[in-house]
């Protein structure tokens, strides 16, 4: 059982690092796009406020939740391998 615990802990730590990295990157991409949108299309009101609002919307979006696939896909892959190697 210790082997399983070790596997889960190391896996969780690595995936959390990837999740954090992808989250920060995705947010920065979103921010750059919002700035560009304001400069090229909106051009009225406060730019900072526009970007803030856009990021707030993004925080609750489905697109952001898709980053959780970073955890889900490897977990499913491990289950698939266990099934194929041991049961099938």
């Amino acid at each position: 059982m210790f082997g399983l615990a070790r596997f889960l802990i190391i896996g969780f730590v690595i995936l959390t690092l990837i999740y954090t990295g992808v989250s920060l990157w995705s947010r920065s991409v979103r921010k750059a796009k919002l700035k560009k949108e304001w400069e090229e299309e909106v051009r009225q009101g406060d730019k900072e406020e526009f970007v803030e609002e856009g990021l707030e919307d993004y925080s609750h979006s489905f697109r952001r939740k898709l980053i959780l696939l970073v955890y889900i896909v490897p977990a499913l892959l491990v289950l698939l391998i266990i099934y194929l190697v041991n049961i099938n």
Partner: protein
């Protein structure tokens, strides 16, 4: 410098190739002839070529290991160990060692009436180090020259090289946009600084010259 660079990258790629060759599954078409179990000493550096099937085995200095003996269609001997990989590297998550042992025993056939099996395994056989590839799965095939397309290896290696390519392209772009201009700037400012020094020396020289007696 060029030789050093080639040697460096050559070594890196050799290690990568060896890593994949050891870890990725391979298929052998064989006839199973026998199975046996033998106590193995596991206290020297070749320990890394054996598995860690459970928690106790991390500290054991020797234990029994199952083996599967087989013969290729060309008549060459193949010996596989049969061990759980458990939750350890490589990630095969093999727990059904006892079942595979049973299947292997059931699959035995004679030279006169051969039955051919595809045995999936990873690892290396080395007679001098006494290391064996680990058998992962066994399945019957039509004949000794059945072809097996290694889809999994194709997918994994394609993804790996795509990743390397993506990193390489980004690195090139980063170097072109950020590092090269910085080096150029450094060069320019160095040139400017040495020009300024030369200029100043000229002025001091002129000033010193003004003290000399004019002829």
């Amino acid at each position: 410098m060029v030789y050093f660079k080639w040697a460096f990258w050559g070594t890196i790629w050799l290690i990568v190739a060896a890593f994949f060759h050891y870890t990725l599954p391979q298929h052998d078409i064989v006839r199973i002839v026998n199975t046996y179990e033998e106590r193995q000493d596991l206290s020297d550096w070749t320990r890394r070529f054996w598995s860690t099937p459970d928690d106790q085995s991390q500290t054991l200095e020797n234990r029994d290991v199952q083996f599967i003996q087989a013969v290729t269609p060309e008549g060459k001997a193949r010996v596989y160990r049969n061990e759980d990989t458990g939750w350890h590297w490589p990630p095969y998550f093999k727990f059904d060692t006892a079942n595979l042992y049973t299947e292997a025993n059931d699959a035995k056939s004679t030279k006169a009436q051969p039955e051919w099996y595809s045995i999936t395994h990873y690892g290396w056989r080395n007679e001098y180090l006494s290391i064996f590839p680990n058998a992962v799965a066994l399945k019957p095939v039509a004949g000794p020259d059945a072809t097996i397309i290694p889809w999994l290896n194709i997918i994994i290696l394609t993804l790996f090289f795509a990743l390397i390519w993506a990193i390489w392209v980004r690195w090139r772009r980063f170097r072109r946009n950020r590092i090269d201009p910085m080096l150029e700037e450094l060069e320019d400012s160095y040139d400017a600084a040495s020009d300024a020094v030369a200029d100043r020396r000229g002025r001091i020289g002129r000033w010193l010259g003004s003290w000399r007696s004019k002829k």
